[in-house]
Subunit: 249 residues, 2 copies
DNA sequence: GCAAAAGTGTTCAATGTACACCCATGC
DNA sequence: GCATGGGTGTACATTGAACACTTTTGC
C-alpha cells in the first residue's frame, strides 16, 4: 500500500517536473540528477567518442553521450562506472569527474542537472553492447572532429572533456590509457598529437618519453608489412602509479 | 487549490527523503541538490575561510561552509553567486566550480548532492552579514589551519578547494583576488606562501612577477612606521584578463 | 646609530626546442 | 634497389634555483 502511494506520488512528481509547473515555485528543492560519461578512445588513428542513439523523447533519434539517473543509494562515481559498464566491458579505465552542468534550459521541460565524467579506454578492451541498455537504438564510435548533431548540451560537454584531457596529458601520460598494452613510440606520439591537436618533434618526444622511466621495453617488435619493424613498449605500472599519485591524489 | 496539493505533496516528499524511505526504491530519481561555497580570503597574514554556524538539524550548532538549495529555475553558477552574496557584499570575485560531492552517506537521512564552488575575495570587499541568511547563528572567518569540527563532509570540501587554489596559483596569479587593490610585493609573496605552504625566494619571486607584465607601479609607497616604505603595485587588468582567458576559458 | 624590512644580480643546472640523416625491412 | 616508416644526437635558448649584501626609513 505504501509502495502504491509512493509510486503515484512519484509519477505526479514527474509530471509536474515535465510540464515545468514546479518552476513557478522557485523555492522547490527537487531536481533530477544524472551522470553522463564522455568515453574516449583511439581507433584507426582517430580520437573517438562513444555515442548512443536515443529512442525516447526528448531528442528522440539524436545522438548523445551515454548517461543515466543516479540512484538514491549510489555514489556518483559508482553511477558513472555503472553507465560505463552498461555500454562497454571495461577494466583498468581512467575515469574522472569532469564538471556539473545545470542550466535550467539544458533539458526541455524539466530541470535535470548532470554530473559529467570522462573516461579514457583502450579500444582493445571494448565490446560495444546495445542490448544491455534501455532507451538506446544504437551505440557507435564517432570521431571527435566529425560529430553528428547532439542532444542537450552534449557537444559542450564533449568539448570540455577534450580540453580536460589535454590538460591531463600535459601533466601525466594518460594517453597510455587509450593505447593497447603494447605500443610503438610512433603510436604513442600519434595519440599525443591527436589529443593535443598539434604535431610534435619525433626526436624530442622519444627522448622525453624514454627519460621519464615510465616505459618498459618488451623486446618485441611489430611484424608489419613493407617497412622496418618497430620496437614495442609497455608502461611501467609502478612508476606510472607513483606519478599518478603525485598528480591526481 | 493546486498550490495546496503541491505543497502537501512536497512535504510528503521531504518526509520520505528524510527518513530514508526512498532508499528502498533504488530506481527513484529524485535527489536534493545544493551548492556549497568555500570562500577564501587573506586577513592578518592568514588564509581564512568563511564559516557559518548552523541553527537547524542536522549538525545543529556545528560550523559549515555556506550553502543552499539550487532553485529550479536557477543555473548552478547563479546559485553559488547568490549564496556568496547572502553572506558577503562582494564584487569582482573569482568564483569557480570545484567538484560535486554526492556520497549517499554524506548527509544524514537524506540524499543530498552538493555542487561545491570556491571563491577568492579581497578582505576589503567584505562585510559579513548574519541577518541576511536563515538557518545561521553566526558567520565568522576561520584560519584554514585551525578549523573547528565541521558539519557533513565540509572538511574534505575545504581541503579540496585549497588544493585547487594551489593549482590555479601555479598557472595564473589568482592571488591578486585575495589582496587589496594596492599591495606591496612582499604582501603578494606572503599570499603565495600562505597558499602554497612553502617559502619562496624573494629575489626570484620579484624577478618573475615583474617580468610577467601583470603588475603596474602606482608610484605610491606605504607610510609605515619604523621601516623603509615599500612600493605599492596594482595589477594590470588587461594583461591579467588575457592570461586568465588563456588559462581559464 | 641601529633596528627592520625593502630592494637588487649573477651563476649554474635543467629543461625545452630546433633541426637532418642513416637504418632495417618487405616487396 | 627502392619505398616506407624506424631510429638517432647536438647546439642553443629559456627557465628555474641558489645565494648575500646594501638601502631607506623611524625611532
Amino acid at each position: 500500500m505504501l509502495k502504491k502511494i509512493i509510486s503515484v506520488f512519484l509519477a505526479f512528481n514527474k509530471i509536474l517536473l515535465y510540464h515545468g509547473v514546479m518552476r513557478t515555485f522557485a523555492e522547490t528543492k527537487t531536481h533530477e540528477v544524472t551522470v553522463d560519461v564522455v568515453i574516449l578512445t583511439i581507433h584507426d588513428n582517430k580520437l573517438k567518442v562513444l555515442l548512443v542513439k536515443r529512442v525516447n523523447e526528448p531528442f528522440r533519434g539524436k545522438w548523445s553521450i551515454p548517461g543515466g539517473f543516479i540512484r538514491l543509494s549510489e555514489n556518483i562515481d559508482d553511477a558513472a562506472l555503472r553507465v560505463l559498464k552498461e555500454k562497454t566491458s571495461v577494466q583498468n579505465i581512467y575515469l574522472e569527474q569532469l564538471y556539473t552542468f545545470g542550466d535550467p534550459l539544458r533539458y526541455p521541460n524539466a530541470r535535470v542537472i548532470t554530473c559529467a565524467y570522462f573516461a579514457l579506454l583502450r579500444a582493445e578492451d571494448i565490446k560495444l553492447d546495445v542490448k544491455n541498455t534501455e532507451g538506446v537504438a544504437d551505440v557507435q564510435w564517432h570521431e571527435v572532429d566529425k560529430l553528428p548533431p547532439l542532444a542537450f548540451d552534449h557537444k559542450e560537454i564533449i568539448e570540455y572533456s577534450l580540453k580536460r584531457t589535454r590538460e591531463r596529458l600535459e601533466l601525466c601520460p594518460v594517453a597510455f590509457q587509450l593505447l593497447p598494452k603494447k605500443f610503438t613510440l610512433t603510436e604513442l606520439q600519434k595519440s599525443y598529437e591527436l589529443i593535443l591537436k598539434k604535431t610534435l618533434d619525433k626526436r624530442n618526444f622519444r627522448k622525453k618519453m624514454l627519460a621519464s622511466n615510465m616505459l618498459v621495453e618488451t623486446n618485441e617488435v611489430t611484424k608489419s608489412v613493407s617497412k622496418r619493424p618497430a620496437a614495442l613498449y609497455s608502461f611501467d605500472n609502478i612508476t606510472l602509479n607513483s606519478k599518478r599519485g603525485h598528480f591526481f591524489s
